[in-house]
C-alpha cells in the first residue's frame, strides 16, 4: 500500500481501484463457478493422461513379462528353430536388422542432411526446394507397404531376388523424409548471427555449412536420425517384399552376402507370432523385446552423443 500511495498523487486517492478490496471475493471456494471449473478441468486432464498411459504401460509391461522369460544368451546366438523343435533363437534376425539399418542409414544420412542444407540455406525459395519439401512431407505419411512395393519393383525384380540391399532401400525410403525434415529444421534453427559471423570471417558457403551450420545443428540432426532409425527398425511390411526372411545367417564362412534373402526381427515377429507352436510364440515375444531395447539403446546413444556437444 505504501508504494501505491507514493506513486499516486493525493488528489487521485479516491480513484484508486485497489482502495476498496472485497476480501471475501478473494477467497477460494468450490461454490464459485471459476474455482469449480478449474478443479474439474484439472481432474479431467489427470484422468486423460492416465488413460493415455494405460495402453502404453501395459504394452511395455507385457513385453518385459512375456519376452523377458525367454531371453537368454541362446536367443542371440542360435538360429530359429523348426516347427516342433525346442530352444533356438533369432541371432540371424538381429544381425539382419542391424545390417539393413546400417546400410539404410548410410544411404539416407548423406542424402537427407545434404539436401536439408540445400532446403534450409542454399536455395530455400527455389522451386526445386519447394517440390522436395512437399514430397518429403507427403512421404512422412507414406504407407510403409508402398515403400516395400517400390523397392520390390526397383531392386528385387531388377536384381532377380530378395536381398538385404532391397530391404535397406525400402527402409531408407521410409527414413529419408524424417531425416530430411528434422535436419532442415535443425539447420534453420542455427542463429543467423552465427552464419553472419562465419561469412564475416571470410568463410565460403561450403565452409560455413561444414564448420558452422552442421556442427551447430548436429544435436537436432542426430535426433532426426535416431527417430528415423527407430521407425525403420520396426517396419515389417516393406521387408516382406524385399528382404523376405531366412533361417540362416546373413554371412556364410565369414563372407557377408547382401544379395540373398535376409532375416529381420520385424519379419521374424510377424512369422512366429502367428504360429501354433508355443516355442515360436515365446521367441516372437523375446524378439519384440530385443527390438524395443535396440531402438531404446539407439535413442539413448543419440541423446548422449548430442549432449556431448558443447552448448
Amino acid at each position: 500500500m505504501s508504494t501505491l500511495d507514493q506513486q499516486l498523487p493525493n488528489s487521485a486517492d479516491d480513484m484508486n481501484p485497489f482502495a476498496e478490496v472485497d476480501f471475501f471475493d478473494l477467497e477460494k471456494s468450490l461454490r464459485r463457478p471459476r474455482t469449480l471449473m478449474s478443479v474439474l478441468l484439472s481432474g479431467l486432464v489427470t484422468v486423460m493422461t492416465l488413460l493415455a498411459l494405460g495402453p502404453l504401460f501395459s504394452v511395455v509391461w507385457m513385453l518385459f513379462w512375456r519376452g523377458g522369460r525367454k531371453l537368454s544368451i541362446a536367443v542371440f546366438t542360435q538360429l530359429p528353430p523348426s516347427a516342433l523343435e525346442a530352444g533356438g533363437g533369432f541371432g540371424n534376425a538381429i544381425a539382419g536388422t542391424l545390417i539393413m539399418i546400417v546400410i539404410a542409414t548410410l544411404i539416407t544420412v548423406p542424402v537427407g542432411v545434404l539436401s536439408a542444407v540445400f532446403l534450409a540455406k542454399a536455395k530455400p525459395e527455389d522451386k526445386l526446394a519447394q517440390a522436395v519439401r512437399f514430397a518429403a512431407k507427403v512421404l512422412t505419411g507414406f504407407p510403409s507397404i508402398l515403400a516395400g512395393v517400390f523397392a520390390y519393383g526397383a531392386i528385387v525384380l531388377l536384381t532377380g531376388g530378395f536381398s538385404a540391399i532391397a530391404g535397406s532401400v525400402a527402409v531408407s525410403i521410409l527414413m529419408l523424409p524424417t531425416i530430411l525434415l528434422t535436419a532442415e529444421d535443425a539447420i534453420r534453427m542455427v542463429p543467423v548471427k552465427m552464419v553472419e559471423a562465419a561469412i564475416g570471417m571470410g568463410a565460403t558457403e561450403t565452409q560455413t555449412a561444414w564448420m558452422v551450420l552442421l556442427p551447430t545443428a548436429l544435436p537436432g540432426i542426430l535426433t532426426g536420425v535416431m527417430l528415423a532409425i527407430a521407425r525403420g527398425a520396426g517396419e515389417t511390411a516393406p521387408l516382406l517384399f524385399t528382404s523376405l526372411f531366412s533361417n540362416y545367417w546373413p554371412a556364410t564362412n565369414g563372407h557377408l552376402n547382401l544379395m540373398q534373402p535376409t532375416a529381420s526381427l520385424a519379419v521374424l515377429i510377424y512369422n512366429f507370432a502367428g504360429m501354433p507352436f508355443e516355442n515360436q510364440v515365446e521367441l516372437a515375444w523375446a524378439a519384440a523385446l530385443v527390438l524395443v531395447l535396440l531402438v531404446l539403446i539407439t535413442n539413448l546413444a543419440g541423446q548422449a552423443l548430442s549432449s556431448r556437444q558443447v552448448r
Binding site: M194, I199, G200, M201, G202, M211, P215, Q309, V310
Partner: protein, 281 residues
C-alpha cells in the same frame, strides 16, 4: 603464406601511390558511395569516408541513416542482402573491392567484422578463436595465435583455464571480446565494428572501449555507434550521417566528416550541431 603479411603489405605497398605521404594519416580504405540501393529503395547516397591506418573512425547518426549499411559495404557483407546494388567504389589499399574480378570471400578475410550481437559459435572458446585460422589453412602454431589473440582482446586471464568450454557459456561482454579475439586472430588489415557495445552493460562497454584504444595501436578500426559519448571517447575521426526525407524516401548521406574534436567541439553543419546538442535522435 602469412595472411597478415599480405594484408599489411597491401596497405603499405599502396601508400606511395596516394597523395598523403605521412604514415600517420595513410588511408587504408577509401570509401565512396554514390548511390546504394536495396531493391528499389535508395538507402545511402553521396557518402565519402576515408579510413585511416591505425586509427579509429566512428560513424554516428540517427537510426535508419545507413551507418551500418555503409560499414557493411566495406567488407561486402551487403552482398548477402537480396537486391543490393552499389554505385561508387571502396578501395582497400588502392584496390577496388567491388570490381567483378574480386572475390568477396577473400575481401572478408582481410577486413574483419564484429557484430552488434555477440555471436560466438556453439563450440569451445579455443575453436572460436581458431576458426579464422582454420579457414585460411593456417600452418603455424594455432595455439600460440589463439593465446595471442585472446591476450590482445583482454580475455586471456578470464578464460585461460577453460579454453575447452563453450563460447556460449561466457557473459555477454566476454562473448563480445571473444568475437573480437576471433576477428583479430587472423590479423586482418581492418576491423569493422557494428555497434559492438549496444547489447552490453556499461561496465562491459567500458572494457570494450579500452580494448579498442589498445587495439588501435595494431589495427585500423571503423566503428558504428549509437552512443555519442562513445564516439567522442574512442574515435579519432567521426562521420555524421543523416536521413534525407526530402526526396520521398529515407536516404542516408554523410553530412560532415572530420577529426572527432572538431565534429564534437565545432560542428559546421546545422544537422550535426542539432544532433550533437541532442535536439533530435
Amino acid at each position: 603464406m602469412s595472411l597478415a603479411g599480405e594484408s599489411n603489405g597491401a596497405g603499405v605497398g599502396a601508400a606511395p601511390a596516394r597523395e598523403k605521404t605521412s604514415p600517420e594519416s595513410e588511408v587504408v580504405i577509401d570509401c565512396h558511395i554514390r548511390e546504394l540501393y536495396y531493391g528499389t529503395f535508395k538507402a545511402v547516397r553521396d557518402t565519402t569516408i576515408p579510413i585511416v591506418k591505425k586509427s579509429i573512425t566512428a560513424f554516428i547518426g540517427p537510426s535508419g541513416c545507413g551507418k551500418s549499411t555503409v560499414l557493411r559495404c566495406l567488407n561486402r557483407m551487403n552482398d548477402l542482402v537480396r537486391g543490393f546494388r552499389f554505385e561508387g567504389h571502396v578501395k582497400y589499399g588502392g584496390q577496388d573491392i567491388y570490381l567483378p574480378s574480386v572475390d568477396p570471400v577473400a575481401v572478408r578475410r582481410y577486413i574483419g567484422m564484429v557484430f552488434q550481437q555477440p555471436n560466438p559459435f556453439a563450440t569451445s572458446i579455443f575453436n572460436n578463436v581458431a576458426f579464422g585460422l582454420r579457414l585460411n589453412g593456417y600452418k603455424g602454431d594455432v595455439g600460440e595465435r589463439v593465446e595471442q589473440a585472446l591476450k590482445q582482446a583482454g580475455l586471456w586471464e578470464e578464460v585461460k583455464d577453460k579454453l575447452h568450454k563453450s563460447g556460449l557459456s561466457l557473459s555477454g561482454g566476454q562473448q563480445q571480446r571473444l568475437c573480437i579475439a576471433r576477428a583479430i586472430a587472423t590479423q586482418p588489415g581492418v576491423l569493422l565494428m557494428d555497434e559492438p557495445c549496444s547489447a552490453l552493460d556499461p561496465v562491459a562497454t567500458r572494457k570494450i572501449e579500452e580494448l579498442m584504444l589498445e587495439l588501435k595501436k595494431r589495427y585500423t578500426i571503423a566503428i558504428v555507434t549509437h552512443n555519442l559519448h562513445q564516439a567522442q571517447r574512442v574515435a579519432d575521426r567521426t562521420g555524421f550521417l543523416y536521413v534525407d526525407t526530402t526526396q520521398g524516401g529515407r536516404t542516408g548521406y554523410l553530412v560532415e566528416f572530420g577529426e572527432s574534436a572538431q565534429i564534437f567541439g565545432d560542428p559546421q553543419e546545422k544537422h550535426t550541431k542539432e544532433y550533437i546538442r541532442g535536439e533530435f535522435s
